[in-house]
């Protein structure tokens, strides 16, 4: 679905990461895996470090910290927010939703609407489009978009194909209606036929959690997991991103009237360095315009990875000037979304962990 929304801008960004550093090689050695194989994977895929949430910290906590720091940095009172959108697949509860809990924690007005989007790695782009829609046509002047997950809680430590990928983070993005901002161009797409490629089979209404769903099994490659763990068919997901993401990026470039060389940056969801590098190349972007360092520091942060990469790679210039940016998220659903926008100057709160170390 294509949409172009005008006179809306991103006014500020903040990301709070998990506070516990995990090292791919050290973790693998502790499980008895061979150093040579770990180094092969580390060098090829780009798995080094990641930041996971400390015990008891949830995506809600991470996003609340990011939101408070952003509002403080911008000098905006919470009463000025008209809507809160919370993008997550790891909410505190099945009911109530995280946006309502955040609404209460921030002490927002009763006239502030709040709702969740159950999206993963494509979720920041989906949430941005919803926020822009609320500003363009929904009567909102300011929308707080919070996007984050603690996917490290869903993986099995003995599943070496999935567990080492994920870091935890929460982001806050403030979207404002304004009289003079250039258009944002979106393309949001989905393919539910691939839904099982990224899936937590048990723990929901279809297959409630029981002792049986916690029984671990070993797969053909020796990875151990159970039905309440996150399962990812890596080759299917890679295949899907190669098939769909370059076309999605090309479509928003066309809507914006830009060639890849005219854009300042392509911010891809940071699944892993290998995937970002391969897709960036296929999209026609030079490697220096496709940041891919944040994934080696923070891990795959689900819906928080695009805002984290914006801050990590472009935080300084974005506070000073306007950049032509294309962002694309892709993952669970399967779903993918791209946006082309002119971004900055904007307020950026420093990237930091929660709790702060």
């Amino acid at each position: 679905m294509f949409s172009t929304l005008s006179n809306i801008r991103i006014a500020g960004l903040a990301v709070s990461t998990g506070s516990v550093t995990r090292d791919f090689i050290a973790d693998g050695l502790a499980l008895g895996l061979a150093r040579a194989q770990l180094e092969r994977i580390s060098q090829t895929i780009g798995l080094k470090e990641r930041k996971v949430a400390a015990a008891g910290i949830t995506a809600l906590d991470l996003c609340e910290d990011a939101a408070r720091r952003l509002l403080d940095e911008m000098g905006i009172d919470a009463s000025a927010i008209d809507a809160v959108i919370f993008v997550t697949q790891t909410p505190d509860h099945s009911q109530p939703n995280n946006s309502s809990l955040l609404h209460g924690r921030l002490g927002l007005s009763k006239s502030t609407t709040a709702f969740d989007l159950a999206m993963g790695c494509s979720g920041w782009v989906y949430g941005l489009q919803q926020a822009a829609l609320l500003c363009a046509h929904g009567g909102a002047a300011r929308v707080l978009l919070c996007a984050g997950d603690t996917l490290s809680r869903l993986t099995n430590p003995l599943d070496r194909a999935t567990d080492p990928l994920f870091g935890d983070a929460g982001s806050a993005t403030l979207i404002e209606k304004t009289g003079h901002a250039p258009a944002m161009h979106f393309n949001l797409e989905a393919d539910g036929s691939g839904a099982k490629s990224i899936c937590v089979p048990a723990g929901g209404a279809r297959l409630p959690a029981t002792p049986l769903t916690k029984q671990e099994i070993k797969d053909a490659e020796g990875n151990i997991h159970h039905a309440e763990n996150l399962h990812i068919n890596g080759s299917d997901v890679f295949n899907f991103t190669l098939r769909e993401v370059p076309g999605s990026v090309a479509s928003v470039l066309k809507m914006a009237g830009w060639a890849p060389a005219q854009a300042d940056a392509l911010i891809l969801h940071q699944a892993n360095r290998f995937m970002v590098s391969t897709i960036g190349k296929k999209c026609g972007f030079a490697p220096e315009k496709t940041p891919m360092d944040s994934v080696e520091t923070f891990g795959n942060q689900s819906s928080a990875s695009i805002p984290c990469t914006l801050i990590h790679a472009l935080g300084v210039p974005l506070q000073e000037k306007t950049l032509k940016v294309v962002a694309s998220g892709y993952g669970v659903g399967l779903s993918w979304g791209s946006v082309a926008l002119e971004l900055g100057p904007l307020v950026i709160a420093p990237l930091q962990s929660f709790p702060k170390l």
């Binding site: 068919n233 890596g234 295949n239 391969t278």
Partner: protein
């Protein structure tokens, strides 16, 4: 001019570390290779996309029993 099987195999080996090593040929059974794993399958997908312009699925590659069967997935 169409490339020979040896040329195609050599190009595939250059991109997929799991298919390299002493005595590994297109006839070698993939299941006997210690590094024939999910990472190697990602590298095969990438090789086919970048060199041959087609996107293979993981199941297409997993169904192959030898390197020769992988090479047979190249469009003629």
């Amino acid at each position: 001019m169409a490339k020979s099987e040896a040329e195609l195999w050599s190009a595939l080996q250059a991109d997929v570390d799991g298919l390299t090593g002493p005595g590994i040929t297109p006839e070698t059974r993939l299941e006997t290779l210690p590094q024939w794993d999910s990472l190697a399958i990602l590298l095969v997908i990438t090789h086919f996309e970048q060199v041959h312009g087609i996107v293979l699925s993981g199941s297409q590659i997993r169904a192959c029993k030898t390197g020769r069967e992988i090479l047979q997935l190249i469009p003629r």
